[in-house]
Amino acid sequence: MMAKIMKWVNSKPSNNSSGFTGASYDFALGGGWKFNLGLVWDDSGGLGIYYGAGATIGLASSIGLEGGNISPTTPSGFTVDNFAGTSASWDFSLGSAGYSRGGTIDTNRFRAIERMNWSNFGDADRGYITNSGSISKGGWIKGRLGAGANWSQTYTGVLRIK
C-alpha cells in the first residue's frame, strides 16, 4: 500500500489548430434565436458536423458564414466531441463583418448574468474558448443600425464523421 500524488502540473493543451466553419442565423429584437450548422475539427484529425440552436439577447438580424478557432482551457485539450453541449457567446457586427467570442459555460455554476460575463467562457470541465469571424447579410433592423450585438446561450450537437 502506498500513496501517490498524481501530478499534471501546468500542462498546456497541445491543440493549436482546432476550429469550426459553417452557416449561422441570428435574429433578436431584445430577445430572439440563434441557429448554426457546420463542420468542427480537432488537432488529432477528428471531424464532425455541428448543429446548434439557442436563445439570444440583444440586437441581431443576420444570416451568413462563420468560422473560427477553438482553444482548450483544460489539460486534456480539445476533441470534436467536446464541442457538444451548452455554450455561450457574444456576437458583434459592424456592417457585414462580425466577431464572436464564446466558449463552454458551466450552467451548474453560473446563473443568469454571470453567463454573460466574457471571462467565464471556458471556465469549466473540458472547457474551450472560441474566437470567430463572420460575414453576413443583415435584415431591415441591422440595415438601419449598421451594427449589432447579442449574447446567446446555445446547445450544440455533434455528429462525429471521423
Binding site: M2, K12, P75, G85, F92, D106, W118, D123, R126, L145
Partner: protein
C-alpha cells in the same frame, strides 16, 4: 435603397444606440484590451464546495455535455473529472473521498489499496 426613416424610427434607433450598441461595443473593447490571463479562482471555489464520498459504481463519458468524464458513486453522487489522465485512474470498486473545503480528490484503489491524490490546483495552465 430603403424608404426614409420616420422621426419616430430615427429616435428609436438613436435610443437603441445609446442604451445598447455603444455599451456593448464598449464591453467588447474593454475585454479585448484587458489582460486575457485565465483566473481559476472561481472554478477552485466551486470545486472546494463539492463534497462526495463512496465507491465508484460507474464511469462514463457524457457526450451530451462536452464529453466530460463523469464518475457515479454507489450513493448516486455524480462528479466530473477535468481530464482524461485522471479518468483513466478510476475503476469500479475504488473508494473516493472529496472533503468540503479541499481541492484534492483522494482515490483508494480496490486492487492495490494504493491512495492516489488528484489536486485541482495542478490544472492551472500557463504559457
Amino acid at each position: 435603397m430603403g424608404r426614409e426613416l420616420s422621426a419616430f424610427e430615427k429616435r428609436f434607433f438613436r435610443i437603441i444606440y445609446l442604451i445598447f450598441i455603444i455599451p456593448a461595443f464598449g464591453y467588447l473593447l474593454y475585454n479585448l484590451l484587458s489582460n486575457d490571463e485565465r483566473d481559476w479562482s472561481n472554478y477552485f471555489d466551486f470545486k472546494k464546495n463539492e463534497h462526495y464520498e463512496g465507491f465508484v459504481a460507474k464511469k462514463y463519458v457524457d457526450f451530451k455535455d462536452h464529453a466530460i468524464e463523469k464518475i457515479v458513486l454507489d450513493n448516486n453522487n455524480i462528479f466530473n473529472l477535468i481530464c482524461t489522465e485522471w479518468y483513466k485512474q478510476f475503476d469500479t470498486g475504488d473508494y473516493v473521498i472529496k472533503e468540503k473545503g479541499s481541492l484534492i480528490i483522494k482515490l483508494i484503489k480496490k486492487q492495490t489499496q494504493d491512495t492516489l491524490f488528484f489536486d485541482y490546483r495542478d490544472i492551472e495552465i500557463k504559457d
